[in-house]
Amino acid sequence: MIEIIVNDERHTLDNVPEDMPLLWVLRDRLKLTGTKFGCGGGFCGACTVHLDGNAMRSCVLPVAAVAGHRITTIEGLSKTGEHPLQRAWVEEDVPQCGYCQPGQLMSAAAFLDGKPEVNDETISAAMSGNVCRCGTYARIRRAIKRAAPELLSSKKEA
């Protein structure tokens, strides 16, 4: 029996092998399908979630290793899809096929959480592990810059 906390909700998992990657627990057991399967090897970033606030590739993260930790998925990034990054994603019309975008958003959110300098270099460095086959990188960059002021200022207040 393994206990995990996903989007502030506690889940007790029976009959889950300890080595089952978190991705498949999320998708196949908890039916949280917003987190995507891209490569299964931690190379593409489609499966990115937050583990205690840090961006992690859930496809290579054994569920036993995250027991008791706080996991946030795209479904938990905001209650209504109104996270400043999600709004910016819509305003900049970022998604094309959209399959990689939950992972992109989770990486971007973790990046801005760290109160970084936001410029092309730091964005590229933070987002380099997330692949987009449609090539939406330029719009992703614009959307991050659009959302950054709001997120960074709210951080300072907090």
């Binding site: 196949d28 039916k31 399908t33 995507k36 990034l77 905001s78 899809g81 959209g98 399959y99 987009c132």
Partner: protein
């Protein structure tokens, strides 16, 4: 999946609905000049377009295959092309919406209730298919006509009701208006009456200067759901009692399974069964032999796959080699037997050739490569005795129809396709093997089966964009720029006096005599290349050449890059190509 909770019922309903739908519209479309020259590929399409008129029990206004106006003012626009991130669901709906005069973001966009309705046949390829960047260019006129026809009938209905001339009415954002009297009615309130209006014989299209959406939309549908993680992709399908299947496919083309030891795999938690899938070399584009693990979830199936012990037979293709094929192709380019395929042409090509001001020639080659869409290929199927339904990013519905017939003996009207958006295709979803495989598993188990490729199987053992070598001559007086890809110009330049760009391609999958020194396996491979070459050549003559979504050079020189536009033909001959490619990929791995 909400729409998938009762698939068997939905399947029957949708057949009933589709039987009812379009029966009277078949003739309406012809009268409106919308549907011209479509070959009916099967009995179902025949029935759908050729039957007698029937009653529309729902009081919907369905003037054609793309527009639905409900009495509650819900407007649904049908997009019959697969959206793999290409935006067809935005673009095609916007074309209809423009002429119908509704806001494309204020309407529902749906997939066809019956994707096998004859007017959805691809006008060039004569099958139900999406691809080759043709959706907007080839559907544009028909979709405008569909929207304009519906609009004209709604206007006529309003004019009748108000007893005013139709010409004195106008439309705006889902309303018919009569300015002189200040009357106004939404489309929904006119639906029932519009359905009884005779289809106009002449339709006036909008003046492009008045377009509000075509060429002006800057947003795509679904962005908010995609950003929220709630957008439903093919891979998110979840049916009650569904099994997840992964397949270990033949490591060398044509290799058959000699033996399978599944005892360890079957001991693993979640693993339900192991099913051998026979290869179908008899079907063009057919699948290779494989062994499927069916489990409760992907991870269990994946673990089971690793525990399988499979022994494969030898295959004649063991010595197949991509370098040798590339060398052949390069040699064929210089062969007098090479087939010259004209590509994008404008102006008088023949005359321009006699005194060319300048000729630029170059050779291009592209290696075998996996298309690697972000979402690995997957599809769900559920078969009963007399029906089968598919859920997935099915870019070529005809392949599902064929798979259902070849594997399960299902007739056209027993096949339902629930078309979902996919996370990219790049050619991967034009293939057929996965539909044959999932049909086999669905028929064998009687349960819903979701077949999933892993990234690694897509890289080494699947339908892979073929190796090709292309020599391209391009003439222009305007530019002497050398090609921007890493290929060396291979021919002399000649001058051309033409003012337009003319491209001629020599494509190296043409026939060439086999060399006597070839080993047996090479000869087999050669026969296959040759066969494939012939098929492709014939196909190319028929359908012409367009640009490739999968070619790396395309992004840079879109119109001049080439790919045979042969989705259908390609599917038909891709067992041969698949043979070459898979073998190759395996050798590389």
């Amino acid at each position: 999946m909400r729409d998938a909770s009762k698939p068997a019922v939905a399947l029957v309903e949708s057949r009933e609905v589709s039987r009812r739908r379009f029966l009277k519209q078949g003739s309406a479309l012809l009268a409106a000049g919308v549907a011209v020259g479509f070959r009916l590929p099967d009995a179902r399409a025949n029935e759908a377009s050729g039957g007698a008129a029937s009653t529309n029990a729902t009081n919907e206004f369905e003037p054609n295959a793309w527009v639905r106006v409900l009495p509650d003012d819900t407007i649904k626009l049908v997009v019959h092309k697969h959206d793999s991130g290409t935006g067809t669901r935005t673009a095609l709906a916007a074309i209809v919406a423009e002429e119908l005069d509704v806001d494309p973001f204020a309407v529902d966009v749906i997939t066809p209730e019956n994707p096998f309705y004859a007017v959805y046949i691809h006008p060039l390829w004569k099958v139900f298919s999406t691809g080759g960047s043709t959706s907007v260019s080839l559907e544009y006129d028909r979709l405008r006509m569909a929207g304009a026809t519906a609009r004209a009938m709604l206007v006529a209905a309003a004019a009748n009701q108000w007893n005013v001339p139709a010409a004195s009415c106008s439309t705006a954002s889902g309303y018919v208006e009569h300015a002189p009297s200040g009357r106004r009615a939404n489309y929904g309130s006119l639906a029932e009456a519009a359905a009884r209006v005779p289809v106009p014989s002449a339709i006036a299209l909008k003046d492009p200067a008045q377009f509000r959406y075509i060429g002006k939309l800057r947003k795509k549908r679904g962005a908010a759901q995609k950003a929220a993680g709630t957008f439903q992709y093919s891979i998110d399908v979840d049916l009650p009692g569904m099994l997840v299947a992964v397949i270990t496919r033949a490591p060398v083309i044509d290799a058959r399974v000699r033996s399978v030891d599944s005892s360890n795999a079957l001991k693993l938690p979640g693993v339900r069964s192991v099913i051998e899938i026979p290869g179908r070399p008899d079907v063009l584009g057919g699948n290779q032999a494989g062994v499927a693990i069916l489990a409760d979830d992907y991870w269990s199936a994946h673990q089971g796959q690793a525990a399988l012990q499979i022994e494969w037979d030898d295959s004649l293709f063991e010595s197949f080699n991509s370098d040798a094929l590339a060398a052949h192709q390069a040699a064929w380019l210089d062969s007098p037997a090479a087939h010259v395929v004209p590509t994008i042409q404008s102006g008088d090509a023949k005359a321009a050739w006699t005194h060319p001001a300048r000729v630029i020639e170059a050779s291009y080659s592209m290696p075998y490569k996996a298309q690697s869409p972000m979402e690995p290929v997957n599809v769900t199927a559920w078969a009963s005795k007399d029906a089968i339904a598919y859920w997935g990013g099915i870019q070529v519905p005809s392949t599902a129809q064929e798979a259902a017939e070849v594997i399960g003996g299902f007739k056209g009207d027993q096949v339902t396709v629930h078309e979902l958006v996919s996370g990219g295709s790049f050619g991967a979803r034009e293939s057929k093997y996965w539909l044959l495989e999932v049909t086999y598993l669905a028929v064998k188990t009687g349960k819903p089966v979701k077949l999933m490729n892993s990234r690694e199987t897509e890289m080494v053992r699947c339908f892979i964009t073929r190796l090709r070598t292309i020599a391209r001559r391009r003439r222009s007086t305007r530019t002497a720029a050398s090609p921007r890809c890493n290929c060396a110009p291979s021919r002399r330049l000649r001058r051309s006096n033409g003012s337009r760009v003319i491209s001629i391609a020599r494509i190296a999958w043409t026939t060439a005599p086999p060399r006597p020194s070839m080993r047996a396996s090479s000869r087999t491979a050669h026969r296959i290349w040759t066969l494939a070459g012939c098929v492709m050549k014939r196909a190319s003559r028929r359908v012409g050449i367009g640009r490739s979504a999968t070619s790396p050079m395309c992004s840079r020189s879109s119109r001049s890059s080439m790919k045979l536009l042969t989705s259908a033909s390609e599917t038909r001959c891709c067992s041969a190509w698949l043979a070459c490619t898979t073998s190759l990929a395996t050798r590389r791995s």
